[in-house]
Amino acid sequence: MIFNRFFPQFMQNDKGGKILLSLLATLVLIIVIFNRLIPESSALHIPTYMVTLLGKYLCLALLAIALDLVWGYCGILSLGHAAFFALGGYAMGMYLMRQIGDRGVYGNAELPDFMVFLNWQELPWYWFGFDNFAFAALMILLVPGLLAYVFGWLAFRSRVTGVYLSIMTQALTYALMLAFFRNEMGFGGNNGLTDFKDILGFSLQSDTTRIVIFSLSALALAAGYIASRYIVESKLGKTVIAIRDAEHRTRFIGYKVEDYKLWIFVFSALLAGVAGALYVPQVGIINPGEFSPLNSIELAIWVAIGGRGTLFGAVVGALLVNYAKTYFTGVLPEFWLFALGTLFIVSTLYLPKGLVGIFQRHKKEPENTPKPIPPKSQSQELAQ
């Protein structure tokens, strides 16, 4: 098929991925055409706020891929992935904050508004360099990556696994949330960083910039997907799956389980950091609420709903749940938490493979996998 030529070798069997990437490309094309080329008066015009909303979803989808990589393929349920996301977001936020310059409310060219408000005299050392985009971009990768490396190194080396690890990651993001809420930290306290003006000299309010950031988000999602797919199809990916299914056996065979886990964990954190960095200019604010443990757990539910260990399932879950969230919090705010709670329960009880699993079940089962033995029903047992 000529269609397959567009995709690299390792994606030839990944039907879901191919569909996803094609849809993504189509979406960007449609958005650009219907937003830029069709006049605003037309009914077919896609308003810019919609573009931004979609861009936001795409960033969250990238975050979901990051979690699926560690949870679905390595069995590490991180309940602290929002922390990496938020750290990436803060790094971007700090760059955007420096771009404001003297256009803030207080008109101070050296200090962001909240520091002037808190009577700070000079910029803290960790803010230096953030007026340079290249430095900020480095930090977007470095800070979440470093945190993941240190945490993962400590945790995997001492063989903290399963729910223990989940709880520890949750404590990590909780501690970070508390820390970022403090004014003394120099990240704007509970108001966070906001009131951004422009990025690389382009105004954040302009439609063109928004379309570009949206397209970048789509690109990042596609690149993240392809990279993740490459990893899970590689030899390293096979080992990681082996660790998920039988950690002790893999270790006894002679693999250094810790190293594999750490590698995949850090890579996942980098993806989350990038997602956060793209998310912030689109929503226009980053505050410590992004660190809240609830966010991380919600993220797990996107992945669970979509289907773990498939990568595209995570994207589907993230888009569906977030669309539902936007819709219901607008229409029936009371209903949303009921719905979310029910989603948690239903997806774990009845959808072990997620929505993607439902569709796959209807297709032909792979011949080489043994069919599970159906459990004996009560009547059969009685009959014996």
């Binding site: 949870w71 349920l77 945490f151 400590l154 945790a155 080396r157 001492s158 063989r159 903290v160 696994t161 399963g162 729910v163 223990y164 989940s166 709880i167 520890m168 949750q170 404590a171 990590l172 909780y174 501690a175 508390l178 820390a179 809420f181 403090r182 950690e247 002790h248 443990p293 757990i297 797990a300 539910i301 669970a304 009371e334 938490l337 009921f338 979310l340 709670g341 029910t342 989603l343 948690f344 329960i345 997806s347 774990t348 009880l349 072990p352």
Partner: protein, 551 residues
């Protein structure tokens, strides 16, 4: 007519004697006093402040309860007279105008317009005189509560002119606590005395007092001028003051530490209450129950609902709430176990997510059914107030009660686990599920009851929490991560570990707070725990035995 018997006559005489003894002198004296009072207060209606001062002094000398009320009213510029008949009245402003009472006997004279009244004016000097006269009068009063209030007021603002009065009062005083305060007040004045000897003994006395005023006075004695030289010239006094101050500071820091320790234990007892149920479910079943915090919330709301049902006996309602909360949360727990968790055994991560969903549902249920706002849970009188041990150290009753309550719950739980058949089965299932099944233990039934027990304990914790914090739909969220930390720190499958971990974390948190701040202390503790888990993944008290890792 028969004469009354001798016995009856005796009674009669006795009664009439008692009557005369008590009633008549009082009656006579009262009317006598009132006349005197009337005469004296009428002298207040003069222009000259000199004469007014005389009148005030005369008024103070009268032994009539109303004289004090009048003086206080004059001090607060609430003493007026009516233009029409020169009756002196005490006013009380309200919406309609001025409610007035007759100064002589507090009889209400209704509400009048401002125009019909005229103020009895005072000046600074007169007010000062009144203040010191009132203080004298109060400090020598027969009523202990008035004396206590008076000395408290004197201590806030020392007035050297009161020295002789205070010494007089000290000699007459019988109550030890009051004597101590009078000594302190005298020392505060004498510290500025002319004679070095007197000053030194006064400073010595101040050094052994824990009241903040004593410390303030000593610090004042060491005041320096711009060049850093002491304003005080007497070397002896300076050294004495410095050593007295050192003594006070030593004592204060000692009591501060004790207080911090107590606060730590108090926080620890809250942590213990909230974590102990979790330790059971996690330890026995390996199930992470994210809805555990919501079980506490249900307990707190049960307390609230019971108080709504029996608003007239708040004290009793709390005692009723304890078993009720246990039942409510326990039944919810059993329902959750039967309905959901049962289907997820062996899949701990999914259990975590499902129970988190339950916690969202329960929160939203409370928001919808009761209110999204916090509800007011009343604290019964026997739980409010505080136990004052000395001026530098006092602890609130609710914290004391909750501390012991936590220990009782702990002991009960320990007894259930160690002494009952259920406890034996629970421990058997925890140690080896397969073997327990083989021995004929109905593990499913044990699981349900264990989960019910853990949840019920959480409900009881909620009753205690309702007395400490706001009761709202998010109550559980605030404690869930802390509870997990306690369980992880203490080691699962071991409720002694939970006790030690809860108390350690509570105390550590409170000792870190003064120099790191409340939020930073929490962060430090969390980071410490994250590091601790690396070193000892199974907690402080790991279960002994073989297990090839992994839960």
């Amino acid at each position: 007519m028969k004469f009354p018997s001798r016995k009856n006559a005796l009674y009669l005489r006795l009664i009439s004697f008692i009557f005369i003894l008590f009633v008549s002198p009082n009656l006579i004296a009262n009317s006598d006093h009132t006349n005197q009072l009337n005469e004296t207060i009428s002298t207040l209606l003069v222009k000259s402040f000199k004469q007014k001062t005389q009148a005030v002094k005369a008024l103070a000398e009268l032994d009539h309860p109303q004289s004090m009320v009048i003086l206080e009213a004059l001090l607060d510029t609430k003493l007026y007279y009516q233009r029409a008949d020169k009756t002196i009245v005490i006013i009380h402003k309200n919406d309609q105008g001025y409610a007035i009472k007759k100064a002589l006997n507090n009889k209400s004279l209704g509400i009048v317009k401002k125009k019909s009244l005229k103020k009895i004016t005072t000046n600074n000097k007169l007010r000062k005189t009144i203040r010191s006269l009132l203080a004298q009068k109060k400090i020598l009063n027969n009523d202990l509560s008035i004396r206590q209030a008076a000395i408290k007021e004197i201590l806030t603002k020392t007035d050297p002119s009161l020295l002789s009065t205070l010494q007089d009062a000290r000699n007459k005083e019988k109550v030890a606590a009051q004597q101590e305060l009078l000594d302190l007040a005298i020392a505060l004045i004498q510290a500025d005395n002319a004679e070095t000897e007197t000053r030194l003994s006064a400073i010595n006395l101040l050094g052994s007092s824990l009241y903040p005023v004593a410390r303030g006075k000593l610090q004042e004695l060491l005041n320096t001028n711009g060049q850093g030289e002491f304003l005080e010239t007497n070397e002896q006094i300076i050294t004495a003051t410095q050593s007295a101050l050192k003594k006070i500071n030593g004592k204060l820091s000692f009591f501060n530490n004790i207080e911090t320790l107590f606060f730590g234990l108090s926080l620890g007892s809250v942590l213990l209450l909230s974590a102990i149920g979790l330790a059971i479910t996690f330890g026995v079943m390996g199930v992470i129950n994210m809805a555990h915090g919501e079980m506490m919330m249900l307990g707190a709301y049960t307390t609230y609902l019971i108080q709504q049902v029996m608003p007239n006996s708040i004290g009793l309602s709390l005692l009723v709430a304890i078993p009720a909360a246990f039942m409510v949360a326990g039944l919810f727990g059993i329902a959750i176990e039967r309905g959901i968790i049962r289907h997820l055994y062996g899949r701990p991560l999914e259990t975590l997510l499902a129970t988190f969903g339950i916690s969202l549902l329960l929160q939203q249920m409370v928001r919808t059914l009761i209110s999204a706002q916090n509800v007011a849970v009343v604290t019964p009188s026997w739980l409010s107030g505080s136990l004052i041990i000395n001026p530098a150290f006092s602890i609130t009753y609710n914290r004391i009660y909750i501390f012991f309550f936590a220990l009782i719950v702990f002991a009960l739980l320990l007894a259930i686990l160690k002494k009952t058949t259920l406890g034996l089965q629970v421990r058997a299932v925890a140690q080896n599920r397969g073997m327990a099944t083989a021995m004929g233990i109905k593990t499913k039934w044990v699981d349900s009851l264990t989960f019910g027990l853990g949840s019920g304990v959480a409900g009881v914790a909620g009753v205690a929490l309702s007395q400490l914090t706001n009761v709202g739909p998010n109550l559980g969220q605030a404690y869930i991560i802390d509870s997990f930390m306690v369980v992880v720190f203490g080691g699962v499958e071991n409720i002694w570990g939970t006790l030690v971990a809860a108390m350690t974390l509570g105390v550590a948190n409170k000792f870190l707070e003064p120099w790191a701040g409340a939020v930073m202390a929490k962060i430090i503790v969390l980071v410490f725990l994250i590091l601790f888990i690396q070193k000892r993944p199974n907690g402080l008290f790991p279960q002994k035995g073989r297990s090839s890792g992994g839960h």
